[in-house]
Assembly symmetry: C2
Homo-oligomer: 198 residues x 2
């Protein structure tokens, strides 16, 4: 599916249907007919565009990633620590309800399948690059203005991302949202004690 | 399967077969017949003990976890930083070959299924507790002897585990072993700069 093939309206409806189907069923049980069941327009429109769920979910990931990128780029100036937290809040939301947990579980299940799919792999590589780039830019800005210590921006970005990612993954696989809150507190302490200039 | 039901020898052969099947096929495609195909003893012995792959993999996880626990408990004295690295080396091995990557990918796929299975959930909760406990004990020992700063042992253990877990998961899902090496370097810098007493 390219942007010229479907209207924005139809694309939004497909994305919404895929989101609901993933939250309700998880990745393994999200079939194309499960997505069609959540689709508010003509089912034939959906089947016309997609042969299988992989193709649909590839577009779904591209859409979600474009949105993440444009949301985060919008906050890419201002206080360096706020910029770091704008990214960290997306990775480890301060409020994560049952639906949010289910959606992230589905995303991690898709990601676990990334090595088997070139397109999934490409999508997640790109999302990692965007996230690492935004974190590194914020760290670089902070070291340049002297609010952060002279840390290595790329290494510290990767360290923060690994921590946030691991905290989220543990929370989701153990079905324990408290792990998200504890990881946020530990990251906050790390930024206070080891990154912020005293 | 309880220890009284099968000989150690048979259990070891079953574990070995499950390990090979998971490395070769990943979790989703590891059927009980795929495990039987790797089993060096009579196939009927395996089918006698297990009805399905879930029951077999539950025992496999228990076995692997008992081994991890006894290996790590053996190193649970000595230099606190060496004790931390004994755990971190298991999470983020300094040398991770193709087979090691495949095995960890299969483990993470099983873990992604943990919310759907009470026993998987219990196994991974327990392994997390063991790992967090060993990290926190090493941190506590280091703060008591003054080689570490007075960090919060539990919070720092969780922070280190989240980082190691996230680094491994990113490496495995992107099929990029270099991520493991970079995460190890970032953790080493964190321990040097923020945990070790100067």
């Amino acid at each position: 599916m390219t942007e010229s093939e479907v209207s924005d309206d139809t694309e939004a409806a497909i994305v919404e249907a895929a989101y609901r189907a993933l939250c309700a069923n998880g990745y393994a049980d999200t079939t194309i007919s499960a997505i069609a069941a959540e689709f508010e327009k003509s089912k034939s429109l959906l089947y016309y565009h997609y042969d299988d769920k992989e193709a649909l979910l590839e577009d779904f990931l591209r859409f979600m990633l474009d949105r993440l990128e444009s949301d985060l780029t919008a906050t890419a100036d201002g206080d360096p620590e706020e910029r770091l937290w704008a990214v960290l809040d997306r990775l480890l939301p301060p409020e994560l309800d049952e639906e949010g947990m289910r959606f992230r579980r589905a995303l991690l299940e898709i990601r676990a399948n990334a090595p088997h799919s070139e397109t999934f792999h490409e999508r997640f590589s790109r999302s990692d690059e965007v996230i690492l780039g935004l974190l590194a830019d914020a760290l670089r800005a902070g070291t340049e203005t002297g609010v952060f210590r002279p840390v290595d921006p790329e290494e510290t970005a990767e360290f923060l991302y690994a921590t946030a990612y691991g905290g989220l993954e543990r929370a989701v696989t153990l079905d324990d949202p408290e792990t998200v809150a504890r990881t946020r507190r530990a990251i906050r302490r790390y930024l206070n004690d080891c990154v912020r200039e005293t």
